[in-house]
Subunit: 349 residues, 2 copies
Amino acid sequence: MAERERPELGPRKGAVLRAVVEQYVRTGEPVGSETIAENAGLGVSSATIRNEMAALEELGYLKHPHTSAGRIPTDAGYRHYVDSLPAGGRLREAQRRLIAGYFAEAIVDLEEVLKGSVQLLSRLTQYAGLAVPPSANEEPVVRLELIDMGPTVMILAVGQHGRVDKHVIDRPDGVDTQTLARVERRLQGLRGKTYLVAQARLLQLAAEGSKEEHDLLLHVAELLRVATQGEGSTHVVVGGASNLADEAQQMRRETLRRLFETLERETEMLAVLEDIGSGQTALNVTIGAEHPSTQEWEASIITAPFKTGDTTIGTIGVVGPTRMDYLSAMASVRVVAKRLSEMATELDQ
Amino acid sequence: MAERERPELGPRKGAVLRAVVEQYVRTGEPVGSETIAENAGLGVSSATIRNEMAALEELGYLKHPHTSAGRIPTDAGYRHYVDSLPAGGRLREAQRRLIAGYFAEAIVDLEEVLKGSVQLLSRLTQYAGLAVPPSANEEPVVRLELIDMGPTVMILAVGQHGRVDKHVIDRPDGVDTQTLARVERRLQGLRGKTYLVAQARLLQLAAEGSKEEHDLLLHVAELLRVATQGEGSTHVVVGGASNLADEAQQMRRETLRRLFETLERETEMLAVLEDIGSGQTALNVTIGAEHPSTQEWEASIITAPFKTGDTTIGTIGVVGPTRMDYLSAMASVRVVAKRLSEMATELDQ
DNA sequence: CGTTAGCACTCGTCGGACATGAGTGCTACG
DNA sequence: CGTAGCACTCATGTCCGACGAGTGCTAACG
């Protein structure tokens, strides 16, 4: 990311920008030079602030709704603000307690933990929580079953870390209970292999086996493929979207509708998140115009990867309006991702 | 329901009310006597319409935002309108095609069909689709497994109609792989019993067995209980909620937020739907003030039960603003519920 | 040269006055 | 009972001026 591309501005301009952003985030009103002069504790007069603000506007960090109004930050302004933030933001005591309380409960199912964490984030920040769960690629398969359900057959796969994928198919012609049992027995050989490996192995087996087996095995392979490639199955976990509809969030109606639409279409949302979270940084902030989607929503997304040991397995974060309390939201996301990683690492053993 | 409690009004008042409702639903503007006189084809002057409207207001079916404005329907007005609607509403050709197209695909998993149907309804009506899936009570259990996942144990139940429930627990002290396998073997005896019966049977078994078995069996019973009682697990299926955020829907911001909040809390929403859908009618309409929740949201809910054979197994419907196109929405819900029932009946065999 | 006080200027917002017109309610008449 | 006519109400739109927040600029100061 553009870590230090921006000019340094000098300490006072930075302080002014920072004060404008924080004031604007707090009140939602354009902020004037007087306010800054009084509250920011810079010990200079409003006239000086005005000069600084004019300069900041020149640089593209602030803008004017109209001549006689105060300034509001541009997306670039938020960006600079975010980049200049100290690394370890503080959480409020109440937030700390919420987090501690949640992770104190002994939870054992990663999927459940993720849902809970997303809810937690949405409550911590008052924005919407998001998560991309681990893909099944490297997860060992512990069960693989063909279940006779009368006119249909259910294919069921269970992974070592708790994922369960199922798919119901029409019973292929000429496949009776015996055949199912026989094929299921053959599937036992795949236990312990990862989803990816099992999938490849299935394609081989399908090629070797008889006609009926062939079809069934292909269906099983397809289920594993969907589970790994995610296109239908890797759900994006969303929580607290109703927070965004809050008056105080003052998002435009049209904008809001678009955001909700995308949040419902999981594959689309997944693409956006993967796009955004591709940086290897521990904390990822995308502000408004920096991405086509967030631009359309006038929104920002903060994400962090979570890991087992040293390998990233998923992403968690929040979406909110560009006028967002970045400091607090970033701290929340960072801490929750950290705790989540610890928990996932522990579960992994 | 209040099928024919309301006075009959006489044909002309009925026609006027109907015209007002339909005009208002279309435009969202209070409607005046002139408009009705011109468009409703009653062949009387606006003055006469005015008299009728005054009478309808007296009866509580219409109201005035202010003196010099047109009239809008009250909740009672919508109710009378809905009750006087002909039983079989027509669908537009495009809608017919959407429905036919959807059900033409051979789909075999009831859960998937439900999700799809809810999406379908939301697209047909431009409101949000809703469904309560079948409870597991009378569904036979086809698999019941204890899966060794290292530090944890996954309990997995599969039902005859395709439901899959899972729960991951910490491995109880002193339970090794052998114990798990042994207990799992004992569980095989429950195959073919319904969730309810299996649950009761498990409590018996738990009482008889050894200490370790006891704990495990209780956990299994608990999973079945949650699956049947639904409190955590019977999800309400929601689709197309973003439709409600549309400008055209003109729902108040605060109202919208509340509705979204409840849509996220599945148990709460489930309670509302059960409350509302308790009538045995084939099509159930709850309008604004008729239920505390819908009143709070200034919304209406249309639901219909869907069945296998003659027994109701679930509910499907839509939520939209009180100012809703009842005619079209009712027709959509009715038809989709009917098709869904046919499909479910077929799957059931 | 940076900082600041002072001041003219801009422009959105608020409130009042007024015209407009949609829509009503009533009355008198056919 | 239906209708034409008409006075009346009242929300909406517009114009106007007062107000004031906030700016940009200039000149003076250390």
